[in-house]
């Protein structure tokens, strides 16, 4: 119980320290917008979209369901992480070494790879039966 209380105290102090830093050194108004905004977008846009996809893929034949869902998870993660590079908003004319690649093309190739691996997985499942 003592360690529990001590750890609560440590955690609480770190939270207060962080909040104090935001208020005194950062810009608390815009910070709050991003801080809470990220949760709202996640909870009420991203996850609902994932749930809809979950429902839709539930209509697939049982044998395909796991591979297709796995493919969607990997493809979704790659797309999400790639999105700021694909948009390449950060490119600037004075420095071509920033975002030097064609990220849209990279992403298309990666997604095609995911599809190919999934197709092989499905085919092997079928022939093993």
């Amino acid at each position: 119980m003592k360690t529990r209380i001590a750890l609560y105290a440590v955690g609480g102090s770190l939270i207060l320290l962080g909040l104090r830093g935001i208020v005194t050194e950062s810009e608390p108004r815009s910070w709050v917008v991003w801080f809470a905004g990220a949760v709202l977008l996640h909870d009420f846009v991203l996850v609902p979209a994932v749930l809809v996809i979950g429902v839709l893929t539930a209509w697939l034949p049982v044998a395909c369901r796991t591979p297709v869902r796995a493919a969607l998870i990997v493809a979704g993660a790659l797309t999400l992480v790639a999105s700021p590079m694909v948009l390449s908003t950060g490119q600037r004319p004075d420095n071509p070494s920033i975002l030097p690649l064609s990220y849209g093309r990279s992403l298309v190739i990666l997604l095609a790879l995911v599809v190919a691996v999934t197709a092989i997985w499905l085919l092997r499942k079928r022939t093993q039966k």
Partner: protein
């Protein structure tokens, strides 16, 4: 019995359970711990308190810690999203608040989730050079990390018993968590494999999603601040450029480019290790900083400041503490990869030292001040 609203019964996947949440939680705990530690290293390397002296060796220490921070951070994104999907039904628990204690608990969970998402989003946008937020990245990201770690400690204390209960025993419910966890790990792996080459150059060709590519840039080395961005395109090209060593010295010295080139030259292979996680090595040639300082006559524990032709900005000058300026690898470089420095790499002369973030490898030098 607590009355359940119908929405809870609608989450049909049996993966929304304690055991899945526990495993993902353990992985997340480790990666947040690593991110916090490596983040603090980066912070205090750039703003060292008085009692702290960073060593100049191992040469690649900062390169590894910051690579771990950024690539590990990116790999954490799928883990975090998977974890929050797993526990999502709890968002709709009924009644929403059972007691004051429960309200505090949920408030802390909000802080944990918000801080975790905030770090991922701002970090990802920062390495993509997309400054979409009005606040200064480092300050907000730094302080938010304390909120995240504080809320995480409390969360771990609260959930520890559950984690032990579920992880220590073999489940007999026939739910296929393994496939799900493998998939999440595969997503993290795919993110890492397609980005880690921006700092681990043997895998550079795989880094198709990384914002940087070692080998791409003037003299095959990427650039962070260009001469145009720094506003030095005229001053750095002046033929009458000189380098001055001044301050607490026995003899003030001034060198033209020809005089610097007449001093003993050394070539060292050292990396630029950027705060944004990418890194790349080059063969730098120039004069050892320690040779210049000995010629000028300085105390062994002198603090040295190098200053750039840049007019302003936080990185116009940087401190070089004794471990770094005494290190024979620390050069005032004139050449990179066998040719005179490109303007964007800091021509006519730049600092290059081991185990130090790229922002502190000051470019377009004109003065060395001994304090």
């Amino acid at each position: 019995m607590v009355r359940q609203p119908s929405v809870l019964g609608r989450f049909s996947s049996r993966l929304h359970d304690e055991r899945t949440a526990s495993w993902l939680g353990i992985w997340l705990g480790v990666s947040f711990g690593v991110a916090f530690l490596t983040g603090l290293i980066s912070h205090f390397m750039q703003q060292p308190p008085d009692w702290l002296r960073w060593p100049s060796r191992p040469v690649n220490l900062y390169r590894v810690t910051q690579g771990l921070h950024v690539i590990g951070g990116l790999a954490t994104i799928p883990l975090l999203l998977a974890k929050m999907w797993t526990v999502y039904p709890k968002l709709f628990q009924w009644p929403p608040l059972r007691s004051a204690r429960h309200a505090v608990e949920r408030g802390l969970i909000f802080l944990l989730v918000a801080a975790a998402l905030f770090q991922m989003v701002t970090g990802l946008l920062n390495i993509a050079y997309w400054y979409a937020f009005p606040f200064f990245f480092t300050v907000a990201h730094y302080w938010t990390s304390y909120i995240l770690i504080g809320a995480l400690i409390i969360h771990v204390v609260n959930e520890w018993a559950k984690v032990q209960r579920t992880v220590m025993k073999r489940p007999e419910d026939g739910v296929d968590r393994r496939a799900f966890l493998f998939t999440v790990a595969a997503a993290s792996g795919a993110v890492m494999l397609t980005t880690v080459g921006e700092t681990f150059s043997p895998l550079a060709r795989l880094a198709v999603l990384a914002p940087r590519r070692p080998g791409v840039g003037p003299a095959r080395l990427p650039v962070n601040t260009s001469a145009v961005a720094a506003g030095v395109t005229t001053t750095a090209r002046k033929p009458d450029w000189t380098l001055t060593v001044t301050g607490q010295v026995e003899r003030e010295l001034t060198f033209t480019m020809a005089e610097l080139r007449a001093l003993p030259q050394h070539t060292e292979r050292l990396p630029i290790s950027c705060v944004e996680g990418w890194s790349a090595s080059g063969d730098w040639t120039g004069v050892r900083l320690r040779d210049l300082l000995r010629m000028a006559g300085v105390a062994a524990d002198a603090q040295v400041r190098v200053e750039s032709l840049q007019r302003g900005g936080p990185y116009r000058k940087s401190w070089v503490d004794p471990p770094h300026w005494r290190d024979p690898l620390t050069l005032l470089a004139l050449d990179l990869n066998g040719a005179p420095l490109d303007l964007d790499h800091g021509s006519p002369c730049r600092l290059i030292a081991p185990n130090r973030p790229g922002v502190l490898q000051t470019k377009w030098l004109h003065t060395v001040v001994v304090a």
